[in-house]
């Protein structure tokens, strides 16, 4: 099983990579001991979005399916969490609400994905259909301001959004602040490791082969539609996880979390980071979210313009992604250095052997 952590589909392997990984993880774990609670809460907030980025990386970078509708599943699970948490009575049932809302998002992905993939929709049309679906949901939720729009005790509230749900709670302990931060870190580690193992497994081999040449993959006996649907459901489930965590974090959700600007964000994060690699996406999305959050404090418009500029720069200068490109440069530099270091050592060994003879 552990062999799957290092494989051809993921950049970074071996002792040095995993040492760096553990060092970063250790820094993340001790961060709340030194930071104030506001900053820790902020960190927890932008870690929430990492799941959506990793899900899109799986679908787009590994599976070749550019979904412009990740916020559709984000919204379904976000609103789903609200509806369930309010109607189930809060408290520990919020954990069940979190799980169920992600399951609902995955079922929605299964239905939408089935019709798209079995209907032969691919390429740019995949993006168009998913974006349209997202916009339909955002517009629908926007017109639910009246009191007649409710599910049980949960009012949808139109553009003002749904509020009043409990945060994640175990017994009488609310998972907020540092506790939420540690939950985010734990979930990110689990999801990252699980995705690495998935893409380096035989299933991952087929997912990547389908991205490269679906007809050839089918000619090897694989029903590529099932692999595409699996990828779509997992990626959408991760977007759903972000949505449910977002609602539990802020105890509100509005249609603007689903609309066009929100839907474009994951594309920018993943494109800038490097869609073909999970680690690049994890690191790049984290940096972008941190930067975006920092700039937003001064001007939200400036942050949005920066995102647009970054997307243009990525498309024109580094279509494979800036972070992935830099990662590859570091790996190449390291490999060259090792070869250079090994060459004199080999020459010395050869000279010693010839001296002995």
């Amino acid at each position: 099983m552990l062999k799957l952590l290092d494989g051809p589909q993921t950049l970074g392997r071996g002792r040095i990579f995993w040492s760096c990984f553990l060092a970063v993880l250790a820094c993340a774990l001790i961060y709340p001991l030194f930071a104030d609670s506001y900053d820790v809460g902020n960190f927890a907030y932008f870690l929430i979005w990492i799941f959506m980025a990793l899900g899109l990386c799986l679908m787009w970078g590994y599976g070749g399916m550019l979904s412009f509708g990740q916020t559709f599943f984000f919204g379904i699970a976000g609103y789903g969490y609200g509806v369930l948490a309010i109607n189930m009575g809060g408290g520990t049932t919020t954990i069940a609400a979190l799980v169920l809302s992600v399951v609902v998002a995955m079922i929605a992905a299964g239905i939408l994905g089935y019709f798209m993939i079995w209907g032969g929709i691919s390429g740019i049309f995949f993006g168009i259909v998913t974006l349209s679906t997202t916009l339909v949901l955002a517009f629908f939720l926007g017109q639910t301001a009246g009191p007649e729009w409710h599910i049980g005790a949960a009012r949808l509230n139109g553009f003002n959004g749904m509020k009043g749900m409990d945060p994640l709670t175990v017994g009488s302990f609310d998972i907020e602040g540092s506790a939420l931060y540690y939950l985010m870190i734990a979930l990110i580690v689990v999801v990252y490791i699980a995705l690495r193992m998935l893409v380096n497994s035989s299933v991952g081999n087929v997912i990547v082969a389908t991205r490269e040449n679906p007809q050839r993959a089918e000619m090897l006996g694989y029903d590529v539609r099932k692999y595409q649907l699996l990828t779509f459901v997992i990626g959408s489930g991760l977007a759903g996880l972000s949505g449910a965590l977002y609602t539990s974090w802020g105890q509100f959700i509005t249609p603007s979390s689903i609309g066009l600007p929100a839907a474009a964000m994951p594309i920018v994060w993943v494109a800038f980071s490097g869609r073909n690699d999970l680690t690049a996406t994890l690191v790049g999305s984290f940096l972008l979210l941190f930067g975006f959050q920092t700039i937003t404090v001064y001007s939200q418009q400036a942050a949005l313009v920066l995102m647009g500029v970054l997307l243009l720069a990525t498309v024109m200068l580094a279509p494979q992604g800036f972070v992935l490109g830099m990662g590859k440069l570091v790996v190449d530099w390291w490999s060259r250095r090792r070869r250079r270091d090994e060459a004199p050592a080999l020459a010395d060994t050869a000279r010693l052997q010839s001296d002995e003879t």
Partner: protein, 239 residues
């Protein structure tokens, strides 16, 4: 015993009838070549057999099972293996990973690794195994795809112009490779233009012309058929 039985198959694209009422039988254990001039409908018939096109009329049987409505992957799972006309490999993946994807359903662990090495050596690709498949020469890509098709250990190997773009030496080697697999019991259906290659491998030949069966028989009978030479090479060459 018939392994593939094509019964009354036609394929129309709008007003164009590419294949018309074709009956074709490929017996188990033979190397059967499908030849004909350009536009004869060979590749269309090939795609009908592998399931890339649904026939307008007629039925296709594999090992006595009606597979007419089955998708290509289901036909492959029944024991077919396919090499398309243009090299169809996973260009952005390493050569070894291409072979792995083909092998992983049948073998795992050390057995798979051993088979990988055997196939890479057989195809002269061992030294290039870590290269991206897209960086291989045209001929090497053809061999890689043949290797991927062989990795499935099929009952029936379907090859659409397997030697296109190969040098005469590579073509001859490919022919010998096909003969060795046929000697091991594999049935092979080849669509091919190159008559030297057909002479090297074929046991039975079917000639298509204008979407219909023009002639069929043993290699010798087809080679001696003046009408075949006439449609295939043109009248001036036939006399």
């Amino acid at each position: 015993m018939a392994l593939v039985d094509v019964k009354g198959v036609s394929k129309r694209f709008g007003g164009l009838t590419a294949v018309s009422g074709v009956d074709l039988t490929v017996n188990a254990g033979e190397v059967h070549c499908l030849i004909g001039p350009n536009g004869a409908g060979k590749s269309t018939l090939f795609k009908l057999i592998v399931g890339l096109y649904p026939p307008t009329t007629g039925s296709i049987f594999f090992d006595s099972v009606d597979i007419t409505a089955e998708r290509p992957y289901a036909r492959v799972q029944r024991g077919m293996s396919i090499k398309m006309q243009a090299p169809s490999v996973f260009k952005e993946l390493p050569v070894r990973q291409n072979i792995q994807v083909a092998l992983q359903e049948r073998l795992s662990g050390a057995e798979r690794e051993a088979e990988e090495e055997r196939l890479l050596t057989l195809l002269n690709l061992a030294e290039d195994s870590s290269k991206l498949a897209g960086a291989l020469s045209h001929g090497q890509q053809q061999w890689l795809e043949i290797g991927m098709a062989l990795a499935l250990q099929p009952q029936l190997l379907l090859l659409d112009e397997p030697t296109a773009g190969m040098s005469p030496e590579e073509t001859h080697k490919t022919g010998e490779l096909i003969k060795s697999f046929n000697a091991g019991g594999m049935t092979v259906l080849v669509v091919e233009h190159d008559m030297a290659f057909v002479r090297q491998v074929a046991q039975r030949v079917t000639v298509l012309h204008l979407g219909k069966i023009f002639a069929r028989g043993s290699l010798q009978a087809i080679l001696e058929d003046e009408k075949v030479a006439e449609i295939y090479l043109g009248k001036t060459h036939a006399h």
